[in-house]
Symmetry: C2
Subunit: 341 residues, 2 copies
Amino acid sequence: MRRPTIADIAERAGVSKVAVSYALNDRPGVSAETRALIKQIATEIGWRPNSAAKALNGARARSVGLALARPARTLAIEPFFMELVSGIESVLSPHSFALTLQVVDDHAREIETYQRWWGERRVDGVIVVDLHLDDERVGELRTLDMPAVVVGHPDAAGGLTAVWSDDAEAIRETVSYLYALGHRRIARVAGLPRLVHTRLRDDAFTAVCEELGITGHPIVHTDYTGEEGARATRRVISSPTPPTAIVYDNDIMAVAGLSVAQEMRLNVPADFSIVAWDDSPFSRVVRPALTALTRDIPAYGAHAARTLLSLLDGDTIAGYQDEAARLTPRASTGPPPDRPA
Amino acid sequence: MRRPTIADIAERAGVSKVAVSYALNDRPGVSAETRALIKQIATEIGWRPNSAAKALNGARARSVGLALARPARTLAIEPFFMELVSGIESVLSPHSFALTLQVVDDHAREIETYQRWWGERRVDGVIVVDLHLDDERVGELRTLDMPAVVVGHPDAAGGLTAVWSDDAEAIRETVSYLYALGHRRIARVAGLPRLVHTRLRDDAFTAVCEELGITGHPIVHTDYTGEEGARATRRVISSPTPPTAIVYDNDIMAVAGLSVAQEMRLNVPADFSIVAWDDSPFSRVVRPALTALTRDIPAYGAHAARTLLSLLDGDTIAGYQDEAARLTPRASTGPPPDRPA
DNA sequence: GGGCGACTCTTAACCGGGTAAGTGCGGTGG
DNA sequence: CCACCGCACTTACCCGGTTAAGAGTCGCCC
């Protein structure tokens, strides 16, 4: 049978469809009895509002967009995204907002997607991740005047509302901790150099190392994969003045780095310490378990979603600063072998 | 400025909006010049079709739904889902179909979601995963007459189109391989017992063990987490007649099991062999690297999406059988210590 | 030169909801 | 006793596109 419309309900109830509309939307203009009758009929015949018809009257699409310009492979590997998505969902779901997900090849495609989504009113707003230096998406979203929340540092968000955490603070804590353990040569295996947060972490890393008088503090950039993490580790360890500790930009690379160190007969942590940024279950299951920078990523996603929903309600929000990652010491860090003092 | 509609184009071109509609949809009824003019104006003022208005006339939502009744935690841990999603996306994206994702608490909520999606015409069809024994969702989807593709065995799909792979075959290959290496006591650390594929694998495991005359073949059910994988491993290894090999239902548990074995001073693979089902990068980075049952999960998702799109086009499709998982031997398997001859 | 068909474009109406502006009716107050 | 108010509900029309049916114009052919 054809799906029921308010006209069907109106006919059955013997009223006009406007009365039905008022009744179902709990607006004044109908008596309590009529309202009850209409609601009962609606339930009876299984009426559901047609979102298209609603949207035509300027209603919300009740959907939030997330376009990811990452290769599918990275997506599958990085627990970060699924955690972020689950956090976003946890907020959207109770509001009956859906998440519209699209994997795109690059930023150009991502911008096309935004144009289409917004033009067709398929989403009410978007969440933007992986900010680049001089990110073209920011300008485009501003031009489109599309509600957007950026997951990343406000300085690079070009005026868009940002949800962020202080990565510099986390880096400082980590390097200070390694310094306190006695490490004086610390390397950093970083992510993609084009990403804003990589740059911020790089800068903070360099700054804190120099503050502490640590001179050997190489930074190697990678694409976040285990393969590159392993290669970077080999390269750094094989240098003339190898570090006694490496801080990795994700746990995938840290796990790969651990394997490399073990292959090279380095005892972790006795000979060599490892810290992972982001703490998925894998940091816990490898031996030794990895000291990690723990963030509540689902909460992070939840904040982004909540902020976007507020924006959609017309609120003006400067941004939201989430907690910085906390250092969770486990078995992969210890004093260096040639501990002074 | 207000977003342009076909009425605006019509005004500028000096024709009726119907002419514009014909022109933009490449239907006969307008001259080539008028068509060109209209298209030019459309581009000029940045016109985009309003999907709501289209939907109102019975057009597609151009969206596929995926509701996941898994705790957020599992989602974040299991690479399976992101891989599946990225495969689905790879097919949907070129067709300008979006993926609408929703995480739900349980099957009851999932069914509500389907009812809402379908009632509101927010999606054109759905992909269903994690089939349970006597799965209530199947009946509901049939009642709703909603296009759906089930990722799972056809026998449990209740007549819905299924995309599946032969897990029994993969189990047989694995057990035969371990048997050939000399193993005579093999355990299985399985996933949730309510899931259809767990049951199928259990049955196949039992059958092949009995065929080969393997008598000690315990099966332990878990929730797929590393913690439970570790516990199950401890339990099995500590039994009076411990197995010389364990086949795990995912790689998370296999990695956890590896750690447990190493903690218990078992040398893998000299003392003890490990096989993981599903082969994420983690199987490769741990030492020793895990022998795994490799599946191309993105391809699996792509097939599901392609099948659903065909269904939407009105094709009748029996189902699609994907390749069975292939055994990829790595360093975690070898002959058992007490190899007989 | 009249009839016909093809082509181009129009008017009218529809999809399923929503809002603005009435209308009819009973009750109340001056 | 009439004016006025408010409730309950209606009519009319809108959103932005699609479709069906009709109308005007032109050329062609007999």
